[in-house]
């Protein structure tokens, strides 16, 4: 009970900190989109726009109000769930169910990231733990080189190599694009999802598995593991029961960071495969200089980061007795 109260106190403190971070983030986004040189009205209407039409658009966008008032209008809209109106499409950006620009796309992206995460996390922990256990053995050496090389590759390189290998030039096994029609759920298109998912998996597994290995190697060198062996315990018990729980702590933080990173990774991956998610939407919006959409997406992605970090902190506390007991 005391633990529960301790945890909720901690979560509330961290949530407040998260909200504060998001507030500062919103200022950064707003400043970046308003403060940088460039006139959105002219950008939208092009070089040949008449002064009248420019003035009208500025009025419509609220650009001639004071900056602080513009910021307040934007931010308060955000809190109410009004993410603004797309300049290019004239639709609300989000999140009224039927007609919003991003509605279905958020689910599409979430599904893609979720599938990638569900595959990546256990796979990385397994690879990391096995490499550490057979440290300096053949499996470890091969994995060390493979993960190093894969970690270095940009997502679009991986994605295109997959397209070349499995979708077009070499073998025609899988669709090279993953076009999900609007109003359709992505899980109805499993074949299309294979390559994008695989690309995301390749983007994160090397990082998580390397950190898992490093953390497990350190734990396996510790005094308490030597002690567990000297107590006459079986090696399997030593590894899974004594070493694993202690190696997960540092790994969880890295998992959170990588999942947050996936939120950026989908930008390129969705573009490569033409997948209708928020990443591809962001690229389109940037092409169209559709500022409200860019602002909204940047805020959503930063929000995901804040939430993931919070979750990682809570999980770390729950699995680390030293931290857990200090809360209760």
């Amino acid at each position: 009970m005391k633990l529960l109260r301790g945890i909720s106190g901690f979560v509330i403190r961290r949530l407040l900190l998260g909200v504060l971070t998001l507030l500062v983030v919103s200022v950064v986004i707003f400043a970046a989109t308003q403060g940088l040189p460039g006139d959105p009205a002219r950008a939208i209407l092009g070089k040949n726009a008449t002064p009248d039409s420019l003035a009208a658009l500025r009025q419509q966008l609220g650009l001639n109000r004071p900056v602080a008032s513009q910021y307040w209008h934007w931010l308060s809209g955000f809190v109410r769930g009004d993410f603004g109106t797309s300049l290019a499409a004239g639709q609300p950006v989000c999140c009224s169910k039927s007609s919003s620009l991003l509605g279905g796309r958020i689910e599409n992206s979430a599904f893609l990231v979720l599938v990638a995460a569900l595959i990546s996390i256990p796979l990385s922990i397994l690879i990391g733990a096995m490499s550490a256990r057979r440290r300096d053995g053949p499996f470890d050496h091969v994995m060390s080189v493979v993960t190093l090389a894969l970690a270095a590759l940009p997502e679009f390189v991986v994605g295109i190599v997959f397209v070349v290998l499995f979708g077009t030039v070499v073998w025609l096994l899988l669709p090279p694009v993953a076009i999900i029609p609007p109003d359709q759920a992505p899980w109805n298109y499993p074949k299309e999802l294979v390559l994008p998912t695989l690309t995301l998996v390749v983007a994160v597994v090397p990082y998580i598995s390397r950190i898992m290995r490093a953390s497990m190697v350190e734990v396996l060198e510790s005094d308490y593991i030597e002690m567990a062996r000297l107590k006459g315990l079986r090696e399997s018990k030593v590894v899974w029961r004594h070493a694993l729980p202690n190696s997960l702590g540092p790994t969880i933080q890295v998992i959170a960071l990588n999942l947050a990173y996936l939120a950026g990774g989908i930008v390129v991956v969705e573009f490569v495969f033409g997948y209708a998610g928020i990443g591809a939407a962001l690229v389109d919006a940037v092409h169209n200089q559709d500022i409200p959409v860019v602002q909204a997406l940047a805020m959503i992605i930063a929000g995901i980061y804040v939430v993931l970090n919070l979750v990682a902190d809570v999980v770390t506390i729950l699995i680390t007795p030293r931290l857990r007991t200090s809360l209760s």
Partner: protein, 309 residues
Amino acid sequence: MSESTIAVAPAAAAEPEPRRHRPLVLLLQGAWRQGRTKIGLAIVILLVGLAVIGPLFAPYAPDKTANIPGQAFAPPYAPPTAGARLGTDTLGRDVLSRFLWGGRSVLALSALATGIGLVLGVAVGLLAAHSRSILDDVLMRGMDVLLAFPQIVLALVAVATVGPKLWLLVMVVGITTAPRIARVTRGAAIQVVERDFVHAAEALGESRTKIIFGELLPNITSPLMVEASLRLTFSIALIAGLSFLGFGLQPPAADWGLMINENRQGLEINPWAVVAPVSAIGLLTIGVSLVGDGLSRASIGIERGGIDR
């Protein structure tokens, strides 16, 4: 009895070891002994060489269409033939020429961006670690805000406002690299700050700048070099990625990332127009990270007291 009297030898250091190189030289030597460093370095040198002197060997100017014997105009996506060794691209230009011209921009922009990030990040990290006060908190919270975005998202926000300008790309990539380097710098420096030789220097009244640059910085060069090479990998990926999305160099410039974007439609007809730049970017990032890993292994070896193997 006389032999048993205690004669403290003036030489407590009995067998003099040979005079040794500076620790930084040891690190580089240790990294060189790793096979992967040599392979990585070879790859990097090859590609940098290709980018720098490649244009001298390019058969065509980058924006000219290819001259294929027997054809008045070079068709788009022609497979490799006599006048175009790697075929032609979407506008009938020679893929080989554009490939040879297209590496300079990625290399220069990403190196510049990493340099900016390194200088900013190291400055902030060292300042935060040394201050041990509210300044530390303020600086690192500020860095956390920048860390709340994947690098590419912040870059896209900037591009959406200003448009695809090269100086902007370099600045954004540099500024978003800085907090990541600052974190590593602070993490390494904060351990050094707590060591007694820093306290000793403070007790002697050594100036703050001398402490930061004389006591702290030399002790974190190994993790910094490892981090710098890692960040260079990311900058290359990011700059090339933004070009690939169409926000880097604009047509008709020759650039590896842009080439991939332009020629994706013809992937099945002339794959070389995509495969050549993709492999170059992939190899480059692998090469840089192999060097980084070699440095990292060497620095761990040095920490453990031995640099052999």
